[in-house]
Structure formats: structure tokens, C-alpha cells
Symmetry: C2
Subunit: 331 residues, 2 copies
């Protein structure tokens, strides 16, 4: 059998997507010349591990898809067994709304707190928010890249990726040196779906990479959840369309836990002041800016500000771009 690492290295060298050895003279010549030991040494120097498809450590769930990668490259402080633990993918629009960012972060936090691994693509928007949420909960999160394992892509997420590697993993089917290219992202999405027991699409436009992830997941018989959103928002057109196609509506993290048979962590609802409680009730009817809350509650601006800080500290309210939202109930 040809080494899967040679196949991955050849794919990187030729800029192709390959999961099976091609019957080509060029590939045969490459394999003859390939110094696997030297290649492995350079990977080790860069703190990159290689888990070949034939390796028993390769996750069975990913091996079972119809075109599993030759293997995955991994960077991070934990072992490859993290790849075999129950994981949920949280995916969605890069240019998401404050609603999408809020929901992705809250889901990341709550699913990670319940012991699930949070998977995503390290992209801007929903992906990043989901990873951050998982980190906030002190949980495990895995980022799947659509470019070479050595790349920090997107550059804006360099620090996030480094925090993820400290307690989790960043993985890619692409060897060091592979440039990001648009056509690799759908392929990356099949790896995300392949590693996940369930896929949650938080916000997605009508034609969106997240819908490709959902399609892969449906094909492989994984659970697909879509987060409902306003029908007047283009960012919820893809998710509401998924609901029409039969995806399960997700309204709280508990929906995923129930589907996967995971016990929710125990929690006591925090106790807040009467003013904070009144502000929270108002926010449960929809997101508001602080000045709208002053008008709606009749409280002084300072009183509303104090109530909002109290609610944020208690984890009951979150703010994105000046819009305050009640954190969704976890069950």
C-alpha cells in the first residue's frame, strides 16, 4: 500500500485534492523519491502530527464518510483521541448578524459545558463565535482548516487559533504549504460534517458554505439542526430553508443534548434584583439598545446600565454591537 502521507504530500505539491492514489506516472515517481522519514521529521519540528486514514487513531466517524481524507494533520496540545470524542459542528455565515454571533457563542459555551467537543471552520462570524464560546466554558474545541495545517487563516483569527491549540486541536487534511483556495472550503466542510455527530447551522444566506456542510451531514445520516431566524433577514434565508427541507429547528442547546443522549450539566438560575429582572423581561421580547430599554422600562439611564451589567455578569444577557439580548434558555 502506498503511504497515505506520500499521497497528502503529493496533493500539496501538485495543488490537487486527492483521497486515493492516482494511477499516474508522476505520482509513482513522486512516491519513489519521497523521503517519508525526513518529511515526518519536518512535521515534528513544526509540532504537526499526522494521523493517517489507516491509523487506528483516525476517527471512525470520519473514516465512514464516502470520501474520507487520506489522513489529517493536527496541531495542538491534546492527543488525537480528541477527534474521536462526541463533537457537534456549529457553522454559519462569515458576515453574520449580532443575533447569529450571539447564538453561536451561547451554543458553543453550553455544548462545551455539557462535555461535547465544539467543531467549526475557524472562519470569521459564526465559526469564530462558536469556538470562542467553547473556550469561555473551559471546553474543548477543534478548528478544521481549508488550507495547509501551517497557515493562520484567516489572519484575524491567529490569536484565537493559538488559544484553541492550547486546549484543543486545529486540524486539516492539507499538508503544510497548501494555500487557501475557494474550492477547498467545500472539501473542508465535508471533514467538519464527517467529524460531527450533529451539525448546527446558526445563520446562513441562501447560497452558503454552511448549507454544503449541512448537505454532507444529511448524506452521512448525521443530525442537522437549523436555528430559526426572522424571515425578513437574508442571513436567515438559508437556515429557514433548511427547516423547510426537514432540518430540526434548534431553540436551545438542550435540543442537541437530547438528540445525542447527553445529560445537561446541572444549573441553578441566578438570582437578580427586581430592576434587573424587569429589564430581562423586556429583553425576552426581543433585542434592545440601552436607550430603548430606558424608554420601555421608565427607569433612569443609570439604573438600566446597572441592571444590564448585573445581567451580563450573571450570564443572562449578552451585548453585541450595542444590542442587548436575553441569553436563550438552555432547555
Amino acid at each position: 500500500m502506498v503511504s497515505e502521507l506520500a499521497l497528502a504530500a503529493f496533493a500539496a505539491r501538485t495543488g490537487r485534492h486527492l483521497v486515493r492514489p492516482p494511477a499516474e506516472a508522476e505520482f509513482a515517481a513522486f512516491v519513489r523519491a519521497f523521503d517519508e522519514r525526513a518529511y515526518r521529521t519536518s512535521l515534528a519540528r513544526a509540532d504537526v502530527r499526522w494521523i493517517a486514514r489507516s491509523d487506528p487513531a483516525f476517527p471512525q466517524l470520519l473514516r465512514s464518510i464516502h470520501d474520507p481524507p487520506a489522513g489529517v494533520f493536527a496541531r495542538g496540545s491534546v492527543g488525537a483521541e480528541l477527534l474521536t470524542q462526541p463533537a457537534v459542528a456549529i457553522v454559519g455565515a462569515r458576515g453574520c448578524s449580532s443575533y447569529g454571533a450571539h447564538v453561536a457563542r451561547a451554543l458553543g459555551r453550553e455544548l462545551a459545558a455539557a462535555g461535547l467537543v465544539v467543531l467549526s471552520g475557524l472562519a470569521r462570524g459564526v465559526d469564530g463565535a462558536a469556538h470562542r464560546g467553547a473556550l469561555e466554558a473551559g471546553g474543548r474545541t477543534i478548528g478544521v482548516l481549508g488550507c495547509g495545517i501551517d497557515r493562520d487563516y484567516p489572519a484575524a483569527h491567529r490569536e484565537l487559533a493559538s488559544r484553541m491549540r492550547a486546549s484543543g486541536l486545529v486540524v486539516s487534511e492539507y499538508a503544510p504549504g497548501v494555500e487557501p483556495a475557494p474550492w477547498r472550503f467545500p472539501a473542508r466542510n465535508r471533514v467538519i460534517a464527517g467529524l460531527a455527530r450533529a451539525v448546527v447551522v446558526v445563520e446562513a444566506r441562501e447560497r452558503s458554505g454552511a448549507l454544503i456542510t449541512a448537505d454532507f451531514a444529511l448524506e452521512e445520516g448525521r443530525e442537522v439542526f437549523a436555528v430559526p431566524g426572522e424571515i425578513t433577514s437574508a442571513l436567515s434565508r438559508g437556515t429557514n430553508m433548511l427547516l423547510k427541507l426537514g432540518a430540526s429547528p434548534l431553540t436551545c442547546a438542550g435540543d442537541v443534548l437530547e438528540a445525542l443522549g447527553v445529560e445537561p450539566p446541572p444549573s441553578d438560575p441566578p438570582v437578580v434584583t427586581a430592576a434587573a429582572s424587569a429589564v430581562l423581561d423586556r429583553l425576552r421580547d426581543g433585542a434592545s439598545a440601552a436607550d430603548e430599554l430606558v424608554r420601555a422600562t421608565g427607569f433612569e439611564a443609570a439604573g438600566v446600565a446597572i441592571a444590564l451589567s448585573e445581567l451580563e455578569l450573571a450570564g443572562l444577557v449578552a451585548q453585541v454591537d450595542g444590542a442587548y439580548r436575553a441569553v436563550m434558555p438552555s432547555k
Copy 2:
């Protein structure tokens, strides 16, 4: 057979909900003393018609539910045959959000424009917005009261009810004089569901009368649609819950037309200026206040204001409580 009108009059006199003659001496005495001719004369004086359950003009769809009313009282300038035309109920929260009001009005407008009768309960919030939308389209709308046919309830909708009677109907199973009472509203909701080919729930809290209407509709095998909404909004908890229970997600009026086999009316998308088009694109990503649009587009405040007026006139954008929204696509 005992007169159904005598039954309705007895129910009104005794403050009860009755759909079958009770085997009671009090009722027998009432029937013996009942002057049906005089009663009919007083109804006619008040411009109230009575369509008994046994009358061929009584709508077959309503007769087919498991406890149809003894008959319905009707006020309005059109004939009772309006009750037999294909109708869609649009129901939801009284204290709805600007999103709910916007969607209810747009649906009322588009479904009425396609020739469907828009049914609702004449309540504040979603009901009123749906009726108004239908009137805006020059369409037909029917209000079903939960109190006596002679009552203007709620008082705030006196003028709306009068406009509805001018081109449509206001109906009730309750005779003149019956006071509004909380327990009558669920009974009223069964009449709404009974008259409708399809029920659309726009926005609803977790425990909400609109969910009762949806339950009745499901029991009677009518189509039930729920409008997806943000999972952080208490006003969408009921609708998102309906989606979990298997209601069809509604994202545009076309969903109802398709389910009922109704042709959508032809429409040409209006042409707008480049500035208006840029503002519209921004609004398709979510509702915004005018000042947010100034920030997001980089246009002058005056330019944004002009673009918004243009979009409102073209029917592409609507404003509720200072929040501008793209009018949802009709298909």
C-alpha cells in the same frame, strides 16, 4: 328540531357556551316563550344577520368541525357567501414585536392580493395588522369576535372593525349582548380555525391563544404554518415550538398559495435608485434604525432618509417603531 337561534339566544341569556340544546327544563321553558320573529326583527334593525348551522349558506368547512357553533351572527356589507370562500387565518400575539406586526401586515396584504380571504380575531397586535394588510390590498377580510356580535371589542379597533364591515364581515357565534370573557376566546379560536383552509401563526408566546387556534386547525386537518423567529425572543417561542411539533415553516406568502394551489398574482419588481438599492441590501441583512443605516452605508443622513422614503413608496421597505425592514420576498 329546536330553533338554533333560540339556542343561541338562550346561551346569551344564561352566559353559557352551548352548541347543542341542553336537556333542561329551563331551556324548554325558554324555547316555549321565545318570540323568534321579534328576535329576528331586532337583529335586522341592528343590521345583524343570522346564519344557522342547518342553513345551506352556513360554511361547510365550519360545519365539519367536531363542535360547530349553532350558527353565526354576521355584520357587514357583503353576503354570507364570503364565509365559504377560501380563507387563511393569520393569528398571533396581541403584544407582538415590530417584526410580528410587519410580517402579519405583509402576509395579510399578499394573501388578500392573491384573492384569499384573510381571517383573524380582530385583537390588537398580529390580528389587527393582518386585517389592515388585507384592507390595504383592497382585499376581503373577516373578523371573528369572542363576544357578542354587537360589541366593538377591543374598543381601540372600533374604526378598523367598521372598515372591515364595509368590504367584508365581522362574525361571532355569540348573540348581541354577550360580554367578552376570557373563556370565550379559545372557543372563538375554534371558529377561526374552522373557517380556515390554513392557519398561519406569526408570533406567539409559549402559552398563547394562537397556539390553541393552531391545535384546533391540526385536529381538523387544516394546514398549519408557523413563521420562524429569533430563538432569543419570547414572542417567537410559541412559533418555533410549533415548528418543532411539525408545523410548516412559512417564509413568504407564496408558501400558503402553493399549499392551497392558488396562483400568485403577477408582479414586476419595482426599479429603484442605486442609493435605495444599497440601503435595501443592508436591510435584507436585518432590521435597522435610520442612524444605523447612515453608519453602515456611509451615506449622509438626508440621503438615507430619501432612500428610505423611496423604498417605502415602492413597497420594498416598511417601518414600525423606528425599525426599518425589507419587505419579505413574496416567493
